[in-house]
């Protein structure tokens, strides 16, 4: 078998389509928003740019979740926590950018600290006035939490439903902690009223378009990283662990190390997703830690198709589009619709949208002729 250049090895058919769509979005959405007159039917209004950017940050969260769930069988019901931590790290940077322009006009302290009569900035707020430090924390805080959590959980061989429950407990505990005012992170109001990011006004049209492009880029990079991981032998070992964990152990693989790498990388991706989400929606508060959010992310991945990466991203966008529409039309129905969706997908579409499409394609190929299908399978190797 000959070796192909890395990028070709990374891109299968659906990957190429996916990156093609992202590239088109990165070009067409800004052009349409900034250059076309508002009256034009092809004009994308600025609010829609941010809405789409929000969906794509969810898509990155879904991709991160698919890496651990789809490929390693770790059903995390707490990935929203990593997303929220990345979001808080970005939020802290945005708060520090407000400077003396807060309602109380304090030169350093954010409004909520002045309101609580705090005299000085808590130690963990230091450094967040610098973007590179905040960006590092966006990766480091979720990554570190995932590493420590995973270190104990995987070493103690907690798996299956027990692992899911403790991930859920983790995000729930963080939510309770972040609700407390003395955490120094804005209590139940969270962090909001952002003004600038990197010196540009957060609300400005051009900034919003730039944030959108940044999100598309992060999603594409996240996809390439995840795709590299799952196509390497590392990814094959992950799937092997998912299929038969003890077999992998008796072959000499340190299962806990493999899981730990995937879990930590996944948490960092989720953190980046959260960091891109916050400036586009303008707020981060403890409800982002709520267990329901993490469960919703699982539904996105299930709908799109676990173990496909592209499907996870697609599922996030599809489900959230449906959610926006339904919460506008019949808000009280959303939770029921989400539950029904999960049941329908589990029963009738267990491979999700992308997995089912791939299955149809394989079947069609197989019926055309058995021989070419074999060749194709060999080439896909």
């Amino acid at each position: 078998m000959t070796r192909r250049p890395l990028i070709l090895a990374l891109l299968d058919g659906k990957g190429a389509v996916f990156l093609g769509v992202l590239a088109s979005l990165a070009v067409l959405v800004p052009v349409s928003n900034l250059l076309l007159p508002e009256a034009s039917p092809l004009h994308v209004p600025t609010y829609a740019v941010s809405l789409l950017g929000k969906y794509l940050s969810y898509a990155l969260l879904a991709l991160a979740l698919d890496l651990v769930w789809g490929y390693c069988g770790i059903l995390s019901l707490g990935h929203g926590a990593f997303f929220a931590l990345g979001g808080y790290a970005m939020g802290m940077y945005l708060m520090r950018q407000i400077g003396p322009r807060g309602v109380y006009g304090h030169p350093v302290l954010p409004d909520f600290m002045v309101f609580l009569n705090w005299q000085e900035l808590p130690w963990y707020w230091h450094g967040f006035d610098m973007f590179p430090f905040a960006a590092l924390m966006v990766l480091a805080v979720p990554g570190l939490l995932a590493f420590v959590f995973g270190w104990f959980a995987f070493r103690s061989r907690v798996t299956g439903v027990y692992l899911s429950i403790i991930t859920q407990a983790m995000t729930f505990a963080l939510m309770l902690a972040f609700f407390r005012n003395d955490m120094g992170l804005g209590g139940n109001n969270g962090l909001t009223d952002f003004k600038d990011i990197l010196g540009f006004p957060v609300q400005a049209q051009a900034t919003r378009v730039a944030l959108f492009v940044a999100t598309v880029t992060a999603l594409a990079l996240g996809y390439l990283v995840a795709r590299y991981m799952v196509t390497s032998t590392y990814g094959k070992v992950l799937v092997a662990i998912r299929d038969a964990e003890s077999r992998a152990r008796f072959l000499g693989y340190r299962v806990e190390h493999y899981k730990l790498v995937a879990f930590t990388v996944s948490a960092m991706m989720a953190g980046v997703a959260g960091a891109l989400y916050v400036p586009q929606v303008g707020i981060i508060n403890p409800s982002e830690f709520s267990p329901a959010n993490s469960i919703e992310a699982v539904v996105w991945v299930a709908v799109g198709g676990r173990g496909t990466l592209v499907g996870a991203a697609l599922g996030a966008v599809v489900v959230n589009t449906a959610k926006s529409w339904l919460t506008g039309a019949l808000p009280e129905l959303w939770l029921f619709a989400l539950g029904a969706l999960f049941i329908i997908v589990t029963l009738y579409l267990p491979k999700g949208i992308v997995g089912t499409l791939a299955e149809w394609r394989d079947k069609r190929r197989a019926t055309v002729s058995a021989k070419p299908a074999e060749v194709a399978a060999g080439a896909a190797e």
């Binding site: 078998m1 991981m229 390497s232 032998t233 590392y234 094959k236 070992v237 799937v239 092997a240 998912r242 299929d243 038969a244 003890s246 077999r247 992998a248 152990r249 008796f250 072959l251 000499g252 693989y253 340190r254 299962v255 190390h257 493999y258 790498v261 074999e374 399978a377 060999g378 190797e381």
Partner: protein, 251 residues
């Protein structure tokens, strides 16, 4: 056993006991396997054969007793991955392969070599020569199934794939748990042939019920009963042993 005798074993168990919820699965089990030896272990269901393999491979910790590999490595201190890396491979009673991987990838993952996540991500694990895979596949006669998913193999083929994975691992000692369960007579004969070929270069412990198969292997036999050794010797000798007939063969 003297120290000199101990160092002359590939595997040495002495006085190993393990209890599950008050039930003694192994009861002062002692066993010594010489380097290069093939040994068959027989015994009725529940005799503790699989549990013995669990002890050797680090899945279960003994309550008491000694387990030494190569005369000096205490296996009771190590976990599964460490023991596998030392050179002990294991085939499960129920065939266990990676179902969503192809036959070739199953062998690829089993092949001896660096096993860290780093090497699997960036290093040597990604540069396994296909010839090494082909060589193993031809030994276990799965060459024509190379690109099929392991899930699509027949039961007997899965057993062979798992034996192939063991071979690829290139261990010093192979533990093979009921390799011919559910096989046709023709497959059983081929498996006996295969194991004898493997035993030329490795130490092998085979657990099996099928007496015809054990006879075919033509090696020393240990009979386990209620967690300890009941008899040991040639197949003819143990078949003639009255206690063995009583608890096992004569039923």
């Amino acid at each position: 056993m003297t120290n000199a005798a101990l160092t002359n074993t590939v595997l040495y168990l002495d006085g190993v006991s393990v209890t599950f919820d008050g039930f003694r699965a192994l009861n002062k089990l002692s066993l010594a396997i010489a380097p290069g030896e093939m040994r068959a272990i027989i015994g009725p269901n529940g005799a503790g054969k699989t549990t013995m393999m669990d002890i050797i491979t680090g899945k279960t910790r003994p309550d008491e007793g000694e387990v030494f590999f190569g005369g000096m490595i205490d296996l009771t201190m190590l976990d599964e991955a460490e023991i596998a890396t030392l050179g002990i491979g294991r085939k499960f009673q129920k065939p266990t392969v990676f179902e969503s991987h192809t036959v070739a990838d199953n062998i690829r993952l089993a092949l001896a070599g660096e096993r860290s996540p780093f090497s699997a991500l960036f290093g040597a694990r990604n540069r396994i020569p296909e010839e090494r895979i082909d060589a193993v596949l031809s030994t276990v006669r799965l060459t024509e199934h190379r690109e099929r998913l392991a899930a699509d193999l027949s039961h007997g083929q899965k057993q062979w794939l798992e034996i192939g994975m063991l071979l690829a691992q290139d261990p010093k000692l192979l533990l093979v748990d009921e390799p011919v369960a559910g096989m046709t007579d023709a497959e059983t004969a081929e498996t006996a042939h295969l194991l004898k070929a493997i035993a030329r270069e490795h130490s092998v412990i085979v657990v099996e019920h099928d007496m015809a198969f054990v006879r075919e292997l033509g090696c020393k036999v240990t009979v386990l009963h209620e967690g300890s050794v009941l008899a040991e010797g040639s197949i003819d000798a143990v078949s003639a042993n009255e206690r063995v007939i009583e608890v096992y063969l004569g039923r």
